[in-house]
Amino acid sequence: MSERSGGKDAGRNVTGFLLIAVPSVVVLVLLFLAVPYYAGASARITKLYTNLAVPADQALAPDIAAYSHDMDTSLAAAKLDLQKQVQAETSFDNQLGDITFPPAPDPHADLLIAADQKRIKLIKLQMQAKTLRKLRSFNARDLAANATVEEQVTIIRQDLGLPPASGHLY
C-alpha cells in the first residue's frame, strides 16, 4: 500500500516539476532572444528617426522650391507654399516628440522641436504679409531660423550614427 502511494506521489512530483521546467526552458530561450533585441534598440530609434525625416524632407523640398519661384510672382501661391511647409514641420515635430531618444541626442531633439516651433511661428508671421516685397523681407530671418534647426539636426544625426543631411532640412 505504501509502495503504491509512494510511486503515485513520485509520479505527481515529476508532473509538477515538468509543469514548471518546460515553460521555464521556453522562457529561457525567449530571454536569450531578448538580449540581442534589446541591444538593437538604438538601431530601431535611428530607423524611427529616418522614417520621420525622409518623408518630411520629401514633403518640404517641393514646397521650398515652389516658394522660391512664387515669392517673385504670386503672393497667394507663395503663402500656400508656406502653409504647406508649416503643416509638414508641425507633423514632423509632433511625431518626433513621441520618440524616446537615448541620453545623448535627447536634449537636442527637444532643442530641435523648439527651433522648429520658432521657425513655424516666423513663417506664420510671414504669411500675414500683404505684399511680395514684405513677404521676401522675411527671407533672411527664415535662413537664420533654418540654420538653428540644421545645427540641431546635425548633432542628432551624428549621435544616431547617420550621415549629415546634405541638401535636406532633417
Binding site: N13, P23, S24, D98, I99
Partner: protein, 335 residues
C-alpha cells in the same frame, strides 16, 4: 455500558494521544498544548481576492525555517519599537496604491487641461489598475513559493485598490475620452472598451464584499463571488489583447523596444508563472521539495519565469511613470 460510563471508570475509549515520553505526568492537572502559538494573528481576510487558496501542507523538517521569516517579521522593530517589523513593511508596501491617483490628480484638478485626461488617463489609471490586479493575484503564488505568509494582507489591499482605481478609470474615461456615442460609447463603444467596462462592473460586487461582515453574511456564496477575481484577470488579458493586438506598436512611439512595451505581452509574461504556480501538481512539488530541504531546486526551476515576470513588471511600471509624469507636467503625448 455506555461510553460515558467507560470514561468514568478510567477506560478512555480512544487510542492514547501521542505524548512524548515524559511529557505527560499523571496527577499534574492541566497540560500545556505541545505546539507553539502562531507568530502573529491570522489574517482577518484570508480569502479576500483569493478564493481558492488552501493552506499548503506544512512539512515538518523545514517548518522551523519557514516560520522563522514570519516570526522575525512579527517581532518589534529595533528602530521603531512601538511597531512590529511586519506592520512597517506592510505600511510601505501598501503605499504604491496611491501612485496612479497622484499622477492623475493634476489632470483632474485642472479639469482636463491640454486634454491630458483625454489622451493619457487610460494609460495612467488603466496601467495602475492592471498593476494592482496582477499584484493582487501574485500574492498567493509568492506564498506557495516562499512559504512566508506575513504579506498575505496585501492581497486584499491590492485587490480593493485595483477595484477603486478601475472605477475611477471608468468614470474619468466616461467623461473625458473622445470616442463617439456619448457616455455609453466612451465606456463600451469598442470591443476593448466593453471588456474594460465589464472588469469594472465585476469589480464592484467583489469590492463591496471584501470585508468580514460580508463574508459572514454570504457564507459559502462569498467564496464563489470572490472567484470573479479570476474572471477579471482573464478579461484583463483579453482587454489588452484587443487593445494592442499581437503585433508590436507601429509608428514612432517608444524607445526602440516596442515588443517590451506591448501590453498584452507584458500581461502574458506576468500571468504565465502565476497560473503555473496555481496548478495543484506544481504546488505539491514545491511543498515536497521544500520539505526535503531542496528549496534551491524550486528557485532554479522558476528562475527564468521569475526573470520574465520581473522584466514585464518593470515595463508596466515604466509605462505608468512615463505617462504619469506626462499628465503630472501637463505634457500629454501628441496622439
Amino acid at each position: 455500558m455506555s461510553q460515558r460510563d467507560i470514561v468514568q471508570e478510567g477506560h478512555y475509549p480512544y487510542p492514547e494521544p501521542p505524548y512524548t515520553e515524559g511529557s505527560y505526568q499523571a496527577g499534574n492537572g492541566y497540560q500545556e498544548a505541545p505546539y507553539r502559538e502562531a507568530p502573529y494573528p491570522a489574517d482577518d481576510y484570508p480569502e479576500a481576492f483569493y478564493p481558492e487558496y488552501e493552506e499548503p501542507e506544512q512539512p515538518k523538517p523545514k517548518a522551523r525555517k519557514k516560520k522563522s521569516i514570519d516570526a522575525w517579521m512579527a517581532k518589534q522593530s529595533t528602530n521603531l519599537p512601538r511597531f512590529k517589523r511586519r506592520s512597517i513593511a506592510l505600511f510601505f508596501l501598501r503605499l504604491p496604491v496611491f501612485v496612479p491617483w497622484f499622477f492623475i490628480l493634476r489632470g483632474w484638478l485642472s479639469l482636463n487641461a491640454k486634454d491630458v485626461l483625454t489622451l493619457s488617463e487610460a494609460d495612467v489609471l488603466g496601467t495602475g489598475g492592471e498593476f494592482f490586479l496582477l499584484a493582487c493575484v501574485s500574492i498567493t503564488p509568492f506564498i506557495t513559493l516562499t512559504g512566508a505568509r506575513w504579506y498575505a494582507p496585501l492581497r486584499r489591499w491590492y485587490g480593493i485598490f485595483f477595484a477603486l482605481i478601475g472605477i475611477s478609470d471608468g468614470t474619468t474615461a466616461a467623461i473625458t475620452t473622445d470616442f463617439d456615442g456619448g457616455i455609453f460609447g466612451r465606456l463600451a463603444g469598442h470591443t476593448f472598451l466593453v471588456t474594460g467596462f465589464l472588469i469594472v462592473l465585476m469589480a464592484i460586487p467583489v469590492l463591496l464584499t471584501a470585508n468580514t461582515p460580508a463574508q459572514r453574511r454570504l457564507g459559502t456564496y462569498w467564496k464563489k463571488l470572490q472567484k470573479l477575481t479570476y474572471v477579471m484577470w482573464a478579461f484583463l488579458v483579453l482587454h489588452l489583447a484587443l487593445l494592442d493586438g499581437f503585433r508590436p506598436f507601429d509608428g514612432p512611439q517608444g524607445d526602440g523596444d516596442p515588443v517590451f512595451h506591448q501590453r498584452f505581452y507584458q500581461a502574458m509574461a506576468i500571468s504565465l508563472p502565476l497560473v503555473i504556480l496555481r496548478l495543484p501538481p506544481v504546488k505539491r512539488w514545491i511543498t515536497e521539495t521544500r520539505a526535503a530541504g531542496q528549496q534551491w531546486k524550486v528557485w532554479c526551476a522558476i528562475a527564468p519565469m521569475a526573470a520574465l515576470y520581473v522584466l514585464a513588471f518593470a515595463f508596466v511600471i515604466n509605462e505608468e511613470f512615463f505617462t504619469g509624469l506626462q499628465v503630472l507636467t501637463l505634457h500629454p503625448p501628441a496622439n
